[in-house]
Every structure is written in C-alpha cells, then in structure tokens.
C-alpha cells in the first residue's frame, strides 16, 4: 500500500476546532467608563501601597515639606557659602578657558616684554620701579612669553615654599606689571588669563598664611579654629599685623595697575581686618578709572568683578559704577576715534571685540538672580530704565551693553517690558554693536515665552515699522525671523504677508548669500511647522516664490519638511496641491546628490517622497491617479537605483499604490477590466526597475494576487513565472545574503505556495511544475539551511495535499478563476504526479532533519515535519516509518516534558498513527 493523501473535510474541522464565540458588550480597547475608574482609584487609596510618584495626603506632604525646609535653612549659612565659592571659581575657570579659545595665541606676532620679567632678578628692594624704567624692552614670541610666565609662576611658588615671601611678592608685582602693556592687543586676553592665574595663586597663598597665623602661634601653639564665616574679632593681633603688612607692601607699589591687581588678589584678606571687606570695592572701582587704556581698564574691571564674588557678600552699587565707567570709556572709544560716517576704525573695532567678553561677564554678574524690582532700579541706575522723569529722552546707552543686558534679563521681565525695551533698542544705535542684532536678540528672547507677552499688536506694529526701514535683505531677514513666532502664534496674517512681501521685494534686488540662506530656511521651516495644513501655507504671499529662491541643502530641508508636513495630515486630494507637492518632491529629488551622500542622508528624503506618493488620493478618479503614478515613475527614476535597503523605495510605493487602485476599481466593479489591466501592466513595467530581486519577487506575488482577484489568469501565470525567474536570479544578483533577506525569501516562498492553491495549473506542465522549480532553486543555493528547507518542503507537501482535495480550503473571489479540483476532476495523472512528488519529499525529510546541527532546532524541525506528514497523508507503512523516526529524533533532542512534543503525540494519536 503506497502513500495517499488524507481526505479533508475543512468545514467539519473548522467546526470541531473553533471555540464558541459570543458577542461582547464593550470593545476590549475602548476607554473605561468614568465610574469604573473612580471605583478603581478609591480601591487604591485603601491599599497600603503608596505610589511614590503620586501626591500623598495633604498632611503628610506638609510635614515632609517642613522637614525639607528645615534642612535647607539649617545648612544655608555655612556650606552654601563654600559651594557658592566653588561655583564662582568653576565659572571663572570656564570663562577663562573660553576667553583663551576665543582669542588664541598667534605664533607669529611677537610681543615686547620688559626684560626684567624674563631675567631672574633678585636685586634691591620691593619696589624696584626705578630699575623698571631703565630696563630694555625685549621682543619675544608669544609662545616664549607664555612659557616664561609659567616659569615665573613656578618660581613664585618655590620661593614661597622657601619662606622667601618677599621674592614671591616681588615676582608677582612683575607679573602684574606685564598687564600694563596693552600694545599687542590680540595677546592681551591670554596675558590676562595667565597673569590673573598667578594673582589668584598669590592671593590663595597669602590667605592661607594669614589664616594659619590666626589659628596657630609661631611656636606651634593652637589659638583657635576659624569657622568659614569668621568675623574680624575672631582674629588675633599677630595675624592682623601680618595682614596689614601685606596691604602696606602692596600699597607701596608705585604703578596704579599692578597695585590694583595685587590688592584685588588679596582682597578676601580684608576679612581678617574688617567685617565688611566689600566696603573697599567702591574705592577700587574708582581707582580703576585712573587707567586710561580701554583694553587694560576693561580687563581690570573684569578681574575686579570676579574678585568681588569671592567675598561673602557685596552690593550692586560698585557693579553699577563699574558698568557706567566702562560705558563712558566705550563712548569715548566709539565716538572719539571713529570716523565721520560712524564706522569704527579697524583698531577700535578690534579693541571692542576684545572688550566684549568683559562686558558679557560683568552684565552677567550684575543681573544674575535679581528680582524684578532690583532689575528696574539697576536699569534706571544704568541710564536705561523706565524713569518717568526722563522717559527715554536722554537715554544714554550703548548698544553693546544693551545686547548683553538683554541676554541676561529674565524672560519674564523682558516679556513684561517688551515695548520699553524695544523703544530702548530703537534709541540706541551706535557703532559698538549692530542695532538689528539687538532687535533680533529681543525677538528670540520674547519668542521663548510668547503667551506672556503683553501688547502684542503694538509690538508687531513697531517691528513692522522697523523692518520697513531696512533695505538690506540680511538685516530684514534676521529681524523678521526673530519675531516670526510671535506673529505666527498670534495669527497676525496680514503682518505675515507683509513680511513675506518684504522679503520677496528685497531678494529681487540682491544675491542671496550663505547667511541669508540659513535665515530664509529658518523662516520657511517655522512657517511649515506652524501651519496645520498645506493649503494655508500655499495661500501665503509669495511662499512658493521665496521657496524658489532657496537652493542647496536649505532648499532640501525645507522641501522635506514641507512634504512630511503635507503628508502628515492624511490624504492629499486637491489636484493643485498635488501638483505643487510633486514639484517640491521633484526638486527635493533633484537636489539629492547621490554620488556624495551617505546612505542615511538620502534615506530620509526617499522615505518622505514615498510617503507623499502613498498619501496622494484622487478618490474615484482612479485613472488620474494612475497617470500620477506614471508621472512619479518618470520623475523618481534614480531613487530605486540606490541600495535603499530598509524603507520602501518610491518604486515599491508606486506598485503598492497601483495595486491598491486596481483593487478599488475591482470593488466598484463598473467597467474596470481595462483599468485593472492597465494597472497590472503598469506594475509589470515598474517591478523590473526595482534593484532588489527579493523585493521584485515580493511585488510580483502581490501583483499576482491582485490579478487573481480580478481573474486575469494569463497575467497571473506571467507574474508567477516572473516571480520564479526572479527567485532563480537571487544568487547571481544579490551576492551574499543577510539572514534577514534569507528569512524573507523563505517566507515569500511559503506565501507563493499559499497562492498556488488558487492558481489553475496546466495539464501540459503538470501539477507540480512550479513547486519543482522552487525545490530545484533551493537545492542549488548553498545558503539554504536545513531548517529552511524543511519549512519549504512542509509547505510544498501541504500544497500538494490541498490540491488533491475535492474541495479547496479557499479560492479566488472572482468567479472567473476555476479551481484545480474542477479543472482536473478525475484526471488521474495529475493527482498521481502530486502524490509521487510528495512521496519523494517524504523519503528525504528524515535525512534533511538529521542534517541540522543544533539539537534544539532539530527537535523542533522533526516535530514540524511530523505534524505535516501526519496531517497530509493517510496512515501507511511509509508514513508510519517517517513519523516514528521523526518522533524518535524529537524525543532525543528535546526534554520529555516539551509541550510541542506532547501535543504532537496527541495529534498522532488522534489520527490513529500508532507508534
């Protein structure tokens, strides 16, 4: 007795296996009714479990808050002082680092240095100013100067360690004197950083020494341990004497600048003498006025402000004086030496650039952690406040100061006083800083909190006024860009259109540079991000004209955002919008430089274009849609040529879309035959253009399904033939396969088997023609693993078994496709062929399972194969033999309690295959 397929009664089997079903009242994923929620919540409350993230009861919260507060207040006095000091130091060193990076040392420009500094001098008294005048000035390279300073620093340290503190001081004075020479201005910041480093070091040494004197006597006896917040009264006489000594020594330095630097270095030591060391700050600020050189005095103020922060407390008075002094200095710099037309001469410009960081730092200190009221009074004191008596009539402000003040002002304050500040900016137009940059900064600051803004209309009107005065595109763009968010959020459409019109008019006149391009990009992106739908954007004045002005990567990124925004909102139906977007997509595509891009760079645009193609929707106008698809195919030729691996390529999307169209046409029924045929034809042309063979294979199958649906048998045969051909060329084209691809191929083959159930065979070729081709393909491929082979073989067996039934499990919806059971009813040779083909497989199956090296996998394969055999074939010697061997393998490979094994044994039992 040979093998024979088991007869199946699909209907009965389904009835036997399906669980009883009942209609549910609510959808399992629908939202709970509110009442149910409440019950649940109250249940939670009674629980002992406390959710750490949920607010606890009022009482508990309060008590824990109290504890927290107590902790803070008890610790606030001492340790926060230290941490604040540490923070100040940290800020300072990072500021210095940035300063050095901003003005790097050039290797070429030499500096002249007083050679006294470079020669080790140990002569004379503390104050060797007379010698100073006689020294020769030596020219050295900047690099050399840096290394000399480093040497000096080491030397100061060493003499201190030798208890030769006078030498340390003398050398420090020399270092401080270096700062008097601001002739090589670009080098000054570096010099400043290095010299103040040494000053700081000296200050720390002196501090430590006096503190030690206050705590331990000469003989080593213990006096007291000074707490961090000690008072002058806690300090013993000797320590005070030493402190006075240092102050006198420093005070005897003749030159002003080094004297100030040294006093600043030991400024904290005043704490040993007075309880209010900050009282010296005002005097020091005034002393700095005596330094006429703008650069030297600005940096001296910087050091002053920094040193002030090392004191336990200080008030803002000295900072305001300091700022006002600096302001006067800059006025002198910008007006005095400026040429008639208001432009600074080159040198002044450079000096200003070098001074800029000092202004930034001082403004930061001035406005850090201030309250609203304080800020108002500070601004009044700086001559830029809202003082009703002056009311801006004589606001004396310098734009560079204004810039850094704006930067530091709290946003809340800025928003509240936006109009006043705007006015202030308008009044302040000098050569120290470009006015439009201040407008821009204000705009950016305000945009951070648009909802808090008051009097928006006034503000926007003012800005429009300002904008209308700008002839240059870059200034116009910069300011417009800064205020765009405000305009957008408040839906000031007219204003927006005016601005866009302004941009358009100005761009006609000049060429767009790199900078303008960036701002235009930002403006357009903001617009794209703001509007919810594409029609609104296209309705804007000159939007497309402005978009056309862009080029290069800016254009690409705007195009991309535009496309992804347009496709985010659901289907695109308006033909004009589709047309515009197609152009945009085309431009995006044209803008891609395929030869020079990395894979990641073009994947995103490709995906966006695919998405666009997918989202286009002509509704019932299917023919127009197909024409659109054809248009796309022409437009995006190249994208498919790339190795776009993961995301869908545009071409694939086209095939999907056309399939979708065909299916829809079929559904609507009326007079669709020719249209579906054209869809199929479209696909037959499009698919071969796709580079990946696997994808081709997949799309052929998909199209074949559509063809079956429509009942176009000739197309089906062609498509499946093409698919198999495709499969056979896998090796030759794609080369090395990734596991993912391989798995994909295998599952596609399985899918093919599923489709073949519905496809009418032909008598000439025999029933098993296509499965044979598939199997021969598998045999020819070295990468096919045993477990894959088993999968396909099982599938083929299932297919053969299904085809031999008298009634199929499923069939094509279209009545035009005749099932094989009808076609070959009673044709013995057909059934015989299937049976013998499957019988051959049955004989191989055990061997192939044995080829699998991994035990676990082998066990599973054996069970799979066993199930397949048992369900497909009738009981016979051959089947029994195969099954028993497979079960044996499975038993040897998997644990006894394995569920798959158990259920397989049960299955065998049920089918009366008795092992």
């Amino acid at each position: 007795m040979g093998v024979e397929f088991r007869r199946r009664d699909y209907g009965a089997e389904e009835r036997a296996c399906s669980l009883p079903r009942r209609r549910a009242d609510t959808h399992p994923l629908s939202a709970h009714s509110p009442s149910a929620l409440r019950v649940k919540e109250s249940g939670c409350r009674n629980d002992d479990f406390v959710d750490p993230l949920r607010a606890t009861d009022g009482i508990m919260e309060e008590s824990s808050n109290n504890i927290l507060h107590e902790d803070i207040s008890s610790e606030a006095t001492a340790p926060s002082d230290i941490s604040a000091q540490l923070r100040v130091r940290k800020d300072w060193s990072s500021f210095k680092r940035i300063l050095m990076q901003r003005f790097p040392v050039s290797k070429t420009t030499p500096v002249s240095l007083v050679s006294a500094v470079l020669v080790k001098g140990t002569k004379g008294e503390l104050d060797d100013s007379k010698n100073f005048d006689e020294e020769d000035v030596k020219v050295v390279s900047q690099q050399e100067c840096l290394s000399k300073l480093q040497e000096l620093k080491d030397e100061i340290n060493q003499s201190w360690l030798r208890d030769d503190r006078v030498t340390s001081l003398r050398l420090s004075i020399k270092v401080a004197r270096l700062l008097m020479d601001a002739s090589v201005i670009q080098f000054y910041p570096t010099l400043f950083v290095l010299a103040t480093d040494i000053m700081d070091m000296l200050g720390d040494l002196v501090w430590a020494r006096i503190k030690q004197k206050a705590e331990i006597t000469e003989e080593g006896g213990f006096i007291c341990s000074l707490p961090d917040n000690f008072k002058a009264g806690d300090v013993c006489f000797d320590a005070k004497e030493t402190c006075n000594n240092w102050l006198s020594k420093v005070g005897s330095v003749r030159e002003l600048l080094p004297r100030i630097y040294l006093e600043l270095a030991i400024l904290p030591c005043w704490r040993f003498l007075h309880n209010h060391p900050e009282n010296n700050l005002q005097r020091l600020v005034m002393m700095v006025r005596g330094i006429a050189d703008p650069l030297a005095s600005a940096y001296c103020r910087l050091y002053l402000v920094q040193c002030a922060q090392r004191l336990p407390q200080y008030d803002t008075g000295f900072l305001i004086t300091c700022t006002n002094d600096l302001k006067l200095l800059l006025m002198r710099l910008t007006q005095g030496r400026g040429t008639m037309d208001g432009n600074l001469s080159g040198n002044s410009k450079l000096v200003l650039t070098l001074i800029e960081p000092t202004i930034e730092y001082i403004m930061r200190c001035l406005l850090k952690d201030r309250k609203q009221m304080e800020i108002s009074s500070i601004l009044v004191a700086l001559g830029m406040g809202r003082d009703p008596s002056t009311l801006f009539k004589n606001c004396s402000c310098i734009s560079i100061f204004l810039h850094y003040i704006l930067k530091e002002l709290p946003i809340g304050y800025t928003c509240f006083n936006a109009m006043e500040i705007l006015h202030l900016i308008e009044c302040t137009d000098d050569s120290s800083f470009d006015q439009c940059l201040n407008f821009k900064l204000l705009g950016h600051r305000l945009c951070e909190r648009v909802p808090e803004l008051s009097s928006v209309h006034l503000l926007v009107d003012k800005i429009s006024q300002v904008l209308s005065c700008y002839d240059k595109l870059d200034a116009y763009l910069m300011v417009a860009d800064a205020y765009l968010d405000i305009i957008l959020e408040n839906q000031l459409g007219t204003c927006l259109n005016v601005i866009l019109g302004g941009i358009f008019d100005r761009q006609m006149e000049e060429k767009i540079g790199e900078n303008e391009l960036m701002i235009l990009q930002s403006i357009l992106l903001k617009l794209v991000a703001h509007f919810a739908n594409i029609e609104d954007i296209l309705a804007l004045n000159h939007f497309l004209d402005i978009l056309d002005m862009l080029h290069g990567s800016s254009r690409n990124s705007v195009n991309m955002q535009l496309l992804s925004m347009a496709t985010r909102q659901g289907h695109i139906q308006d033909p004009t919008v589709i047309e515009v977007l197609l152009e945009v997509a085309q431009a995006l595509y044209d803008g891609l430089d395929f030869s020079n891009m990395r894979k990641d760079d073009y994947q995103h645009p490709a995906r966006v274009i695919s998405r666009f193609v997918y989202m286009v929707e002509y509704g019932t106008e299917v023919e127009l849609h197909l024409r659109f698809l054809a248009q796309c195919r022409g437009a995006f030729v190249c994208i498919s040529e790339l190795q776009v691996s993961r995301p869908l390529s545009v071409q694939e999307m086209l095939v999907h879309s056309s399939n979708k169209l065909a299916v829809r046409a079929l559904r609507h029924g009326n007079n669709s035959v020719s249209f579906v045929k054209s869809c199929l034809a479209f696909n037959e042309v499009t698919v071969p253009a796709i580079p990946s063979v696997i994808r081709q294979f997949k799309l052929y199958l998909e199209t074949a399904e559509v063809a079956i649906l429509g009942g176009f048998i000739s197309h089906v045969d062609e498509l499946i033939d093409a698919a198999i051909n495709c499969l056979q060329s896998v090796d030759s084209v794609d080369g090395v396969q990734t596991t993912e691809d391989v798995e994909g191929i295998i599952s596609l083959i399985c899918k093919l088997c599923g489709i073949l159930v519905m496809v009418p065979g032909s008598l000439d070729q025999g029933g098993a023609c296509i499965p044979k081709r598939v199997l021969s393909f598998l045999d020819s491929q070295p990468w096919v693993l045993p477990r894959m082979k088993i999968k396909v073989l099982c599938m083929v067996v299932f297919l053969s078994a299904a085809l031999s039934q008298n009634q199929f499990l499923y069939h094509a919806i279209s009545g035009k496709v005749i099932g094989n059971y009808q076609l070959f009813y009673g044709v013995r040779s057909y059934h015989q062929e299937l049976l013998s083909f499957s019988g051959g497989i049955l004989q191989d199956i055990v061997n192939i399972v044995m080829q699998e090296p991994s035990m676990a996998v082998r066990g599973k394969m054996a069970l799979e194969a066993c199930n397949c055999v048992a369900s497909s074939f009738k009981m016979s010697d051959e089947t029994l033999e195969a099954c028993s061997k497979l079960v044996e393998i499975a038993k040897s490979c998997s644990p006894a309690g394995d569920k798959f094994l158990q259920s397989t044994l049960k299955f065998l039992d049920a089918h009366q295959i008795l092992l």
Partner: protein, 317 residues
C-alpha cells in the same frame, strides 16, 4: 657662648608707660660665674646735617651732639653663676617712671635722613677683669602713649586744590600754557598714621593728553644749627593714581597707605622738626617728557604741573 635678648612682643613695639619685658637667653658650653647682670636702656635723638639747605660751614660740624631722651641702668642679677646650656633670665623695666624727671619727651622711633630717634636695650654680663663681659644690644620701637592720643577718627581736615596753567610758578611748555588744563580735588591735611591718606581728584580739562598723575609723599626734616635752620626734603613714596589720558570729569580717589618705616608723627621740637608734604604731580605727554624720563623726580619740569599741601601725621589709638 652666646647671649641674646628676646622681647615679649613680636613687633618689639612699646609705649613709654608700658613695662619693657623680655628674656635674656644665654647658651653656654660651660657654667660661668659673674659679678652682676646689667640692663641698660638708652634713647636719644641723633641729628646730622647732610647737604640739603645747610651751608658749607654747617656741614663741617658734621654730627651735632645728640639729644638724650632716656638713660637708665638696672642690675637684674647680683653676683652669681649661670649654668651651662640654655638659660632664660626674665626682666621687666619701666621706661617712664612717673617719679623720675625725664630728660626729654619720649618721641616715637624714627629713622630719617637728618634726624634719627632710636631706643636701644643693652645687656651686660660682667665677669671680672680676667674675662670679657658678655654683652648684646637690641633696638626696640617706641610709640606714643595712649593717654595723650586723640581718639580715632581724626576729624578729616581736607583742603581743596586747583591746578591750572596759572597756578604754576615754573615755566610750562607753550602748548600747556596756551591749551590750558584744570585739575581739581581735595586731599586731607591731617592724617592718622594708621589710615591711608584720603582725597579725590578730577581732571576737568586738559588740551594736552595726560601721561600720568602721581602723588608724592615728601618728608621735611629741619635742624637748628646755631642761628640757622638746615632743612632737607626727601621723596619717600610715589603713588600713581592715573595712568594715561584718563576720562575728563571722572572722580579718581586718592588713597595712599603710609610707609610705616619712613614716617612718624609730625614733630615740632625746639632743636629739630619732622614734617610731611603731599604733592600732586601731573605729567603731560610730550616729546620732551619721554626723553627726560630718568630725571630727578623732585625737580619741576616744563611738562609737569604740581601742587603741594602740608600734611600733619598723628598717632591715633
């Protein structure tokens, strides 16, 4: 074999009404015997004429006889022995005994050019004829006694000054004369030795750019020699308060810490006096000033303008 004096105070400073205390420390290889240990305190004003306004004849006199202030000797040990190793012998001397008639007022220690006021303490260990006496001397510093001092703060006596091309007695550069300048301010004329000299200064106008503004502290010592007075001024400290052409109309502070070793309270005694002056010196930048930068700082130059005011220094508590 060594002997030294160690005073009780680290800074060796005493007031006349305070006891001068300390230790005599001997380090001996072997024990010695002595007749007595004598401690001598000696204070005097030494006067000397060196150039200055003194004439040729006066300078021939050279050293003038010193004016004694205090001279007392106390035996702190009668005859006895000092053992080997380190021995410490404490002592305490009253400088100004209210019962005694003093020779002179206890002036504060001062070392000037012509006038020097010095206090010395000497220890002698007398060991008979056969042995050289062991002896050592040390200077200690005397400050005025507290009772007579004014309470701090001294009322700030300020004087207002104007410096213009018209206030200058020496010849000025023509451009200074024609362009004009005006620097005003105030500076204190009486100042505690412990405090800095205070004041302020404003450059109101100047046609020629300023190179520097300095404050000179000048000491004036005078000695009476016969009928004549020999006076010498010394520049004891220069402090720059403006470097370069500063902004006009801005107030610059004058803040000068007094050099402690070079100053003392202003003294007007019969045979000698020590006084102080403050000079505000403005140097204008000109071609000439750069050439002559190494010249004598006290001399007036055509590119400079100056104003001097007397300064009374007082000791306060």
């Amino acid at each position: 074999m060594s002997i030294e004096i160690k005073l009780s105070r680290f800074n060796r400073t005493y007031r006349p009404d305070e006891p001068l205390e300390g230790k005599i420390i001997t380090k001996l290889n072997s024990a010695i015997s002595h007749q007595f240990i004598r401690l001598t305190v000696n204070g005097a004003v030494n006067l000397q004429v060196r150039g200055g306004s003194a004439g040729v004849i006066e300078s021939l006199y050279g050293v003038i006889k010193p004016i004694p202030i205090v001279k007392k000797a106390v035996d702190i040990r009668s005859s006895g022995k000092i053992g080997s190793g380190t021995t410490e012998i404490p002592f305490s001397v009253i400088l100004k005994d209210p019962k005694e008639e003093n020779l002179e007022k206890f002036y504060e220690t001062f070392h000037g050019g012509n006038v020097s006021i010095q206090y010395l303490i000497t220890v002698d260990v007398v060991r008979g004829y056969l042995h050289k006496p062991l002896s050592t001397t040390m200077e200690f510093i005397v400050e005025s006694e507290k009772d007579n001092l004014p309470q701090k703060p001294v009322s700030p006596e300020m004087v207002i000054f104007y410096i213009t091309q018209d206030t200058q007695r020496h010849t000025l550069l023509s451009e200074l004369k024609s362009g004009g300048f005006r620097v005003t301010g105030k500076v204190c004329t009486q100042c505690s030795l412990l405090d800095p000299i205070g004041g302020e200064l404003t450059v109101e106008a100047s046609a020629v750019p300023i190179q520097s503004i300095d404050i000179h502290l000048i000491r004036v010592e005078s000695i009476l020699i016969g009928e004549k007075i020999a006076t010498e001024s010394t520049l004891i400290q220069t402090t720059q308060i403006a470097d370069g052409d500063v902004c006009h109309g801005m107030t610059l502070p004058i803040y000068i810490i007094l050099p402690r070793l070079l100053t003392c309270p202003t003294i007007f005694a019969g045979p000698f006096s020590v006084e102080f002056k403050v000079s505000i010196v403005i140097t204008f930048s000109s071609v000439l000033s750069k050439k002559h930068s190494k010249a004598d700082p006290k001399a007036t130059k055509p590119w400079m303008a100056m104003e001097s005011v007397p300064l009374e220094l007082v000791r306060t508590i």
